[in-house]
Subunit: 437 residues, 2 copies
């Protein structure tokens, strides 16, 4: 082997064996189907962008992670998310698009992170965004969680909760207490509440110059809980007159109302005032999604409302709202938690097995009959003993094997074996598709 | 605009507007569905590979086109096809795969070519391959064109011909004439027959030291035509005793026989002795596919049999056969030739239009009823006049608009308008899904 190159890939890249790839694709297809059902249009932007364009906004951590390179005279970069390419695309094609523009994109993005467990350098993001010109109705803030609700219902990995908040509520409230200049610091601290605990948060807030009495107020405010209507009532009952705050509360109330209109179960969404997300980016409604029984997974789908998508590229004001599912990471976590059970390593419903080479013609006819009904089927052609052929069928996990010997070929039948319970019976080729469906 | 970055991408990258993306995805989905129906398993390899591994075999032109870059300590490259990653993957996971291993991969590949009309630097390849260990039955040489036949039948872009040959026939024939040492030169010359014409080919062959009498023989041989059985008969009737030649002819005969077993129409496949393809790579059956009415497109799907997939990575002998559709280029060519007709720029079957904001609830219920039946639907929420709302519906090309005013909301109906013929009628929300299906 000394003259061979060792076949391998870099850490941080997910490559799956067929049975896992089938499970992965099933998730991908489910998400895509729901996105399309809600009227989102497909988009597939270039993987390689001009660095000058892609990195117009980036800086700091993001920039360090970019796969960036020179080719000829061009300074190029691989996309690191799907939002910047969307901004560029919408600015570039604004005259050709119909607004509100609802698009989905489910593609790989690339980040040269230090590899660690559960972190990927190349991973799928499954994004939807709605972009308006100048304005975008608040009802879209409810459509996003309604889509997510449908996605996770159909993915069927157990109970989940979409946690929602509105940045105007937080920003307005902190403004009303006189901390308009420290909102970023306060939000970053609050965001750590679950991780570092109440006492550490109190200390940190005081370090930022928040008065001790206000610290208590803030923590009491963030702890407002109960049913969604209770939270709305409690928020409305606050004494602050801050306009931004009032606007945020009424937006939350509207979103809650519309969500019910979308048929989303009450147990699946919950106002949580501690949710802040993407500090520089989001300006209104924000979401996170948690699997109830697997809180350690963290948020499996997040997003929110932003005021202006493409300010770096155009003077047109393009408000929008978007959410993203990090599918590669989600798949990895589901598998780690035993929620992806080893499936079959084939898509075929039936493997046709001719006893020998002289029966290939009959086998082809049987396979063609199944495929003609749109059902995946395969034929085993290799010249092996019958025992090995059946072993192959068992190994790939195909539900049915259709065995064809001379008698079957002569009578236009197959011996159809149910691979799960071992039962077998003669079936006419004409009835084969129905029998394996 | 002076402080804005101009939103743009590099030439040679295909980005589509929604209506074209929908048409593109329809082709992508059709190809994938057929591949799966024939039992091919999905694979999705890493986009970024280690250069040492990816370029184990490459050289010359290929190497110049690679997007190659350093990140940290790693010398990395973007894949330039899907065959080398397949070889690496199969060598890496041989112990975990079941052979024959049938896989499809439909992903983007990257080549830093000089941009020119119809050439892309980032494009989709849609590949299927079957890999055996030590041996692989000849019937797979017929399954490949059978799959391609089904793909292009379902894509429905008119009559097409799969042109087939066998490299053993060519190599054996040239060996028998005493040119074993010049087969590459001869093949390269023959390959230009359609482009440069008979006389130029004669001259070039003589320049390679082919005797004048043999030049005539060769050109006569290559001109053997007629029905597939006629060609086989003519090939069998040749006086040469060369073993490789005889093997190749019998392989061709078998493939023709199996193709009929697969139910492929006789008019769709044709032996063409001038087809050579990928000189260093293919060792048996080779294919090309042409749209009969658009010969200038060239081959839209090509492939063939190879003796050993992964010799650079493993001592295991892995013979296989594969074909590839260059989907990005094909889509471009079909559009250039007017075969992709401008479709609708929406996936939704129905746009629900509430007259005003108070009717959002009723609109949501109507949309949910349609989506519940698995049918894409959308709602128009923006606060605009009725005329503008209808204009939006016409612009996106949605087949139906469901208008909801106060009367409709009160009676649980919508006013359903057929956007094509303008007819409208009241439809109960419960019947809406059926009405727009």
């Amino acid at each position: 082997m000394s003259n061979k190159v060792q076949p391998r890939i870099l850490p941080g890249f997910m490559e799956l064996l067929p049975e896992d790839q089938i499970a992965f694709n099933r998730m991908y297809d489910t998400i895509r189907r729901v996105y399309e059902r809600y009227g989102f249009l497909p988009l597939d932007t270039a993987t390689i962008e001009l660095s000058e364009v892609l990195l117009a906004k980036a800086g700091g951590e993001t920039e360090k992670q970019i796969y960036r390179f020179q080719k000829g005279d061009n300074d190029l970069s691989l996309r690191f998310d799907l939002t910047v390419p969307l901004a560029r695309y919408v600015a570039q094609h604004a005259g050709e698009l119909t607004f509100p523009f609802k698009r989905y994109q489910m593609s790989k993005v690339f980040r040269g992170e230090r590899p660690q467990k559960g972190r990927f350098r190349e991973f799928y993001q499954c994004d939807i965004d709605v972009i308006g010109v100048d304005s975008l109705d608040i009802v879209y803030d409810a459509e996003m969680p309604a889509v997510i609700y449908q996605v996770f219902k159909e993915l069927n990995f157990g109970a989940f909760t979409i946690r929602m908040n509105n940045r105007k509520v937080l920003n307005g409230y902190f403004e009303s207490l006189g901390y308009a200049d420290r909102i970023g610091d306060i939000l970053r601290t609050i965001d750590k509440l679950e991780k570092i605990g109440r006492e550490a948060v109190e200390e940190e807030l005081e370090r930022f110059g928040v008065a001790s009495a206000d610290v208590s107020k803030i923590l009491e405010f963030l702890a407002i809980g109960g049913g969604n209507d209770d939270v709305i009532a409690a928020l409305r009952a606050q004494s602050t007159e801050n306009e931004l705050y009032r606007e945020g509360v009424e937006e939350l109330a509207k979103v809650i109302g519309y969500l019910r209109g979308f048929g989303v179960e009450e147990s699946a969404f919950k106002i949580d005032l501690t949710i802040a997300r993407g500090l520089d980016y989001y300006t209104g409604t924000v979401f996170e999604t948690m699997l109830n029984d697997y809180p350690s997974m963290g948020s499996i789908c997040s997003g929110g409302r932003y005021d202006n998508l493409a300010g770096y590229y155009t003077d047109q004001k393009l408000p929008g709202i978007g959410i993203s599912i990090g599918l590669t990471r989600l798949f990895y976590q589901l598998k780690e938690n035993g929620l992806i059970t080893a499936g079959s390593s084939c898509l075929a419903r039936c493997l046709v097995i001719p006893m020998d080479e002289t029966l290939f013609g009959a086998a082809l006819m049987a396979a063609t009959a199944i495929r003609g009904a749109g059902i995946p089927a395969d034929v085993y052609y290799q010249n092996k003993g019958m025992k090995q052929k059946m072993k192959y069928a068992a190994k790939i996990g195909v539900p049915y094997a259709a065995i064809i010997g001379g008698d079957e070929a002569a009578s236009g039948t197959v011996m159809l074996k149910n691979m799960e319970n071992g039962e077998q019976r003669a079936v006419a080729v004409a009835d084969l598709a129905d029998a394996v469906r």
